[in-house]
Amino acid sequence: MALTRQDVAKVGLLARLALSGDDLDRMTGELSKIVGFVSQLEELDTETVAPLAHPLDTQNVFRADEPKPSLTTPEALQSAPRHDGSCFLVPAVLGESGAA
């Protein structure tokens, strides 16, 4: 199954990965080959088989709703690329300017 260069560009944006022209060319070929390989699953009739997302049969593991200590602000910020002591700083979410 072949992916087009446009397919790969679209997936790149969904995956939040900036891809160069060379990246796009290479990945179009590589991903087409891998997708072709995994498509062998089509041989199997799985009409009546339920999906298995998880190997255990456990579902909805609950715990008591009790407050517990969590990271302090300095701990949470200790590896932040940019912060102001109480918040993470990021470039503008909307529009073109105001990058932090």
């Binding site: 891809l19 991903l31 891998i34 997708v35 339920a50 690329p81 470039p91 909307l94």
Partner: protein, 502 residues
């Protein structure tokens, strides 16, 4: 006494009896690391001062007659995928270069509580994605048996450091074979426990329904010792099993008389190296001589394992790795350097924030990680979800059912770990699909959520280790460890050591 030659079990006993101090043991292994790591690159970080201080503290407490943990004084190397609050945790990725987690992984905390001496963090394939350790952003690991060959992956550093006597024990993680395959290619013993047996809290997530932490040591008895410390319920991991942890070390003695081991004919098909096949058949013969019986079993969907795995794992990875966004921790691209992108130019991103995400991730992740994120994102995207992801989950159920059916007939399933012995560095780096196929015998264990162990069963004429794998039902660790231990009482493959340049 030469600490490097002792098993983990014997080291702990010798320290306990005062025959050797924890400091002497730590010094011996640190000296070995200083000598051998340059040519092997198994460690990304070695914390010499902290290890020695820790060992001195253990010696002082022992002299004062205070109680000590079950691993008191045992040096342990930890894969760099587990969070350590006092050492960097990079997952061998530029994305996390220099990252210091604000907390310890559950397993790391348990090792500290047991008074193990954490000597350092081991090299790996970036984010545990790979089967050769060549995907590390900090350089490949070299196989101690032949420095021109790969140690396997992704826990290649953990396997190589134990094989080269740089640590008596290491912690690895196994998503599709990442403990068992490098253990096999480096001639050591590695256990991939049942899914949920060991807490994953603080293990950097790759594919959460497949990831499992386990021990990598020289022998099954040493794996049993580590399991008693690292296994067990953790409320911080909702998928962690509540079942009581058995005394693995006390369950090794019983003979194998009557043990039923399954043999899958398809494991011996095309692609299996003849020397590996020979070593594996010899191991079956040894188990038979020890009282086990060998039975043909079928795993009819095993041939779809790789295709299933390379959908399920990348889909989960694409979701898990979305957290590396350059905002909270990890690499952030410098603003505005005009990078051509999938959308055209920088100006065409919908906002400066999205541009920062896209460029930080492009700069921080290596090629294989990007490939898997792309594959997973594609397989989960609108229009493809049912055809790829949901389809793979249905086949996953068929694969698990095969094991359940087989384990109605036999107690364990034996076979090769990998189709070939350790391959030359660089041989598969340009062919992602060829690299994926090295996992052909190991991914089923993870898809089914069961246990598996690999251990050496011979050597090629060229002197490379050959691995044997046993897979068992959920929570069969006592049996897996006992079968491997009984085999190791009858053979000496696991005692062989590579000759390294002095």
């Amino acid at each position: 006494m030469q600490p490097l030659e002792l098993s983990a079990v014997d080291l702990v006993a010798a320290i306990h009896r005062g025959e050797v101090s924890a400091v002497q043991v730590a010094e011996a292994f640190l000296a070995r690391i200083a000598k051998a790591n340059g040519s092997i690159n198994a460690f990304l970080h070695v914390d010499r001062e902290a290890a020695l201080a820790r060992a001195a503290d253990i010696d002082a407490r022992r002299k004062a007659g205070k109680p000590l943990g079950a691993l008191a004084g045992l040096p342990v190397a930890v894969k760099d995928a587990l969070c350590t609050s006092d050492q960097p945790t990079t997952c061998a990725s530029k994305m996390l270069a220099g990252f210091r987690p604000p907390y310890d992984a559950h397993v790391v905390a348990k090792l500290r509580q047991a008074d193990a001496v954490l000597v350092g963090k081991t090299n790996m394939d970036e984010f545990a994605m790979g089967g050769s350790n060549e995907n590390s952003a900090f350089g490949a690991v070299h196989n101690p048996w032949d420095l021109t060959r790969a140690p396997g992956g992704s826990s290649g550093g953990s396997a190589a450091c134990v094989a080269a006597d740089m640590a008596p024990a290491a912690i690895g993680s196994d998503t599709g074979g990442s403990i068992r395959q490098p253990a096999g290619l480096c001639g050591i013993t590695g256990l991939k426990p049942t899914y949920g047996r060991v807490s994953r809290r603080g293990l950097v997530a790759f594919a959460s329904s497949l990831d499992q932490i386990g021990p990598m040591t020289r022998s099954a008895a040493d794996c049993a010792l580590l399991m008693e410390t690292i296994a067990g319920h953790d409320p911080g991991d909702a998928t962690c099993l509540t079942d009581e942890v058995p005394r693995y070390t006390e369950m090794l003695e019983k003979p194998l008389t009557g043990l039923r081991i399954g043999r899958v004919a398809e494991h011996f098909g095309p692609g299996l190296d003849p020397e590996v096949a020979h070593g594996v058949e010899e191991a079956f013969a040894a188990f038979k001589a020890a009282g086990a019986t060998i039975h043909d079993v079928e795993l009819p969907h095993a041939k779809y394992g790789i295709a299933t795995y390379y959908l399920v794992a990348p889909c989960e990875a694409s979701s898990n790795l979305a957290r590396y966004d350059g905002a909270h921790y990890g690499h952030r691209a410098e603003p505005g350097r005009g990078h051509r992108t999938s959308a055209g130019t920088t100006g065409e991103f919908e906002s400066p924030l999205v541009e920062m995400y896209c460029r930080s991730r492009a700069e921080g992740f290596g090629p294989e990680v990007k490939r898997r994120i792309m594959l997973g994102t594609y397989a989960l995207s609108a229009g493809y979800y049912d055809a790829f992801y949901a389809k793979a989950l249905r086949v996953r159920r068929l694969i698990r059912q095969d094991y359940l059916d087989a384990f109605a007939e036999v107690d364990l399933i034996g076979g090769p770990v990998s189709p070939t012995p350790a391959f030359p560095l660089g041989e598969k780096t340009n062919d992602p699909l060829a690299m994926y196929l090295v996992d052909m015998y190991t991914v089923g264990t993870n898809l089914a959520g069961i246990g598996g162990i690999s251990f050496p069963c011979g050597f090629t004429k060229g002197g490379l280790p050959i691995g044997f794998q046993l897979q068992g039902p959920a929570l069969s660790e006592p049996l897996l460890l006992r079968a491997a231990d009984r085999y190791q009482k009858l053979t000496d493959w696991h005692t062989r050591r590579p000759k390294l340049p002095a």
